[in-house]
C-alpha cells in the first residue's frame, strides 16, 4: 500500500513585494496592493501594511491568512503592553516581539516575510528585516516578497550601505532626503512591476516621521 499523499496544502503564496528605507529622521515603508493566487489576481486593492504602534509600521507579504493572523496577534499584544506599561511600544521592542512570535511557530511557520519600519527611541529611522521563522537584523533598508530579488540589488546599488563588519560601526541610515527616498521607492516598484507578475496594481507608501504618519498611493501597471 503506497503512502498517502496530501491533496491540499495549508500554505499558499499570495505574492507581492514590500520595501522599507530608513532615513535620518524618517522611515519609508511601501508595498504593492495586489493579492494573487496561482496565476489569478484575487483583488487589486489589499493593503499589506499595518500600523503596529505610533511610530512602528509593518509590511508583510507571503501567505495572506498567516500575515493577517500575525498582524492581529501583534496588535493585540501591543494593546496589552499599553495597558501594562501605559506607553507605546518602541520600534526595537516590537522588533523583538515579532521575532519571538515568529519563532514560536518554528515547526509550523507563519509563511510571512516581514519588514518592520519606524522611528527608534531617538527619533532616527530604523528598519528591521525578517525571515519566516524570526531571524532578524536591523538594517538601513530592505525588501521582502516576490519582487525582492529584483528590488534588493537596486537598493544596494543606490543606497550604498556601509558594510556591517566595519569598525567603528557606521550609520546604516541613508543620507537621502524624505522626498528622494519616496521617489526611489516609486522607481523601484515601477521596475519590479515590469518583470514580477505578482507585483503591480497600486503602490501604497507610508512615511513615518516626527510629525506622524502619512500615506501616499501610486498606480502601477495592472498586467
Amino acid at each position: 500500500m503506497t503512502k498517502q499523499q496530501a491533496n491540499w496544502s495549508p500554505y499558499d503564496n499570495n505574492g507581492g513585494s514590500c520595501v522599507a528605507i530608513a532615513g535620518a529622521d524618517y522611515c519609508v515603508i511601501a508595498a504593492d496592493t495586489r493579492m494573487s493566487t496561482g496565476y489569478n489576481i484575487l483583488t487589486r486593492e489589499c493593503s499589506k501594511i499595518t500600523k503596529l504602534a505610533d511610530k512602528c509600521m509593518m509590511a508583510s507579504s507571503g501567505f495572506q491568512a498567516d500575515v493577517k493572523a500575525l498582524q492581529k496577534l501583534l496588535a493585540a499584544r501591543h494593546l496589552i503592553y499599553q495597558h501594562q506599561h501605559n506607553k507605546q511600544m518602541s520600534c526595537p521592542a516590537m522588533a523583538q516581539l515579532l521575532s519571538n512570535t515568529l519563532y514560536y511557530k518554528r515547526f509550523f511557520p507563519y509563511y510571512s516575510f516581514n519588514v518592520l519600519g519606524g522611528l527608534d527611541s531617538e527619533g532616527k529611522g530604523c528598519v528591521y528585516t525578517y525571515d519566516a521563522v524570526g531571524s532578524y537584523e536591523r538594517v538601513g533598508y530592505s525588501s521582502q516578497g516576490s519582487g525582492s530579488t529584483l528590488i534588493m540589488p537596486f537598493l544596494d546599488n543606490q543606497l550604498k550601505s556601509p558594510s556591517p563588519l566595519l569598525l567603528p560601526a557606521q550609520d546604516a541610515v541613508t543620507p537621502l532626503s524624505e522626498s528622494e527616498a519616496v521617489d526611489l521607492v516609486k522607481t523601484v516598484f515601477a521596475s519590479a512591476t515590469e518583470r514580477d507578475i505578482y507585483t503591480g496594481d497600486k503602490l501604497e507608501i507610508v512615511v513615518v516621521n516626527a510629525e506622524g504618519i502619512r500615506s501616499e498611493y501610486m498606480d502601477l501597471r495592472k498586467d
Partner: protein
C-alpha cells in the same frame, strides 16, 4: 499508547481518519457583486458527486442574521456545518437583546477565523465562502477560502468563477449599477460558466441583499444558444472525424 510507525505519516490512527481528505458532494462557482442598493449574488443549484450530477435543488446561498448573505462552493456538508456554527453565533447575538446585531463585516471576520483555525488543525472545511451584506447603508462583500485567505472587493467569485467571471466583472462592473444591470451582468457571468464549467447546471438562483433585507429568487434557468453553424455539420472539411 502505540507508537505510530514513521512510514504512516499524518493520517494513520482512528482519530486521524476523521480529518477531511477530499470533498465528496460539491457545489461549483458563486459569483457576487456590489450594486447601487446592496449586493447581488448568484449560484446554481447543483450538487455534484464527483462527475455525477447527484443533487439538482441545492440552495447554496443562505441569509445570516438581518444583514448578511452567505454563498458557498466546495463541500456541501461543510457548508451545512458552517451554517450550524453561524446559527449559534446569531442566536447568541440575539440573546444579548441589546438592539445591536452582527453586520456582514463581523460575520466575515468570524468565518475567516473559523476557516483559518480549522486549517491550523489540518482539518479544513473544504469550502470557499462569499459573504455579502449591507448595514447602516454600508455595503460589504468579502470572500474566505478553505485555508483562511480572505479579502473584500466590489465583486468576487469562487472556483471557476475566478477564471471566467472575474474578467467580465473587471471589464463591465462600475459603481452604482442598477438592479436590472446588476442582474444582467451576473447572468452574463453565469451563462459563460454554464457553457464552460463542466459541473455547472442550468438551474440557478439570484439573491439580493439591501438595507431592507434578503430576497432569494425562485430557481430559474438561463437561455442558451447552441445554433452555431459549425455544430450542425461538424465533420464538414474533415470527413471521417467526429
Amino acid at each position: 499508547m502505540d507508537q505510530k510507525p514513521f512510514s504512516q505519516g499524518l493520517l494513520s490512527s482512528e482519530a486521524d481518519s476523521q480529518r477531511t481528505l477530499y470533498p465528496y458532494v460539491t457545489g461549483t462557482s458563486v459569483v457576487a457583486l456590489k450594486y447601487k442598493d446592496g449586493i447581488l449574488m448568484a449560484a446554481d443549484m447543483g450538487g455534484s458527486y464527483g462527475s455525477t450530477l447527484r443533487y439538482k435543488s441545492v440552495e447554496r446561498m443562505k441569509s445570516i442574521g438581518k444583514h448578511s448573505l452567505l454563498g458557498a462552493s466546495g463541500e456541501l456538508s461543510d457548508f451545512q456545518e458552517i451554517l450550524r456554527y453561524l446559527d449559534e453565533l446569531i442566536l447568541y447575538d440575539n440573546m444579548w437583546d441589546d438592539g445591536n446585531s452582527l453586520g456582514p463585516k463581523e460575520v466575515h471576520s468570524y468565518l475567516t477565523r473559523v476557516m483559518y483555525n480549522r486549517r491550523n488543525k489540518f482539518n479544513p472545511l473544504w469550502s470557499s465562502l462569499v459573504l455579502g451584506g449591507v448595514k447602516n447603508g454600508e455595503k460589504y462583500l468579502g470572500m474566505v477560502s478553505m485555508i483562511g485567505v480572505h479579502f473584500e472587493d466590489n465583486h468576487v467569485a469562487t472556483g471557476f468563477g475566478n477564471h471566467l467571471a472575474r474578467p467580465i466583472l473587471r471589464e463591465e462592473w462600475h459603481e452604482n449599477l442598477s438592479f436590472e444591470d446588476g442582474v444582467k451582468l451576473l447572468e452574463k457571468c453565469m451563462r459563460v460558466l454554464l457553457y464552460r464549467d463542466r459541473s455547472a447546471v442550468n438551474k440557478l438562483q439570484i439573491a439580493k441583499i439591501t438595507e431592507e433585507g434578503v430576497t432569494v429568487s425562485q430557481p430559474y434557468s438561463l437561455k442558451t444558444f447552441w445554433g452555431f453553424s459549425a455544430f450542425s455539420n461538424p465533420t464538414v472539411g474533415a470527413e471521417g472525424s467526429w
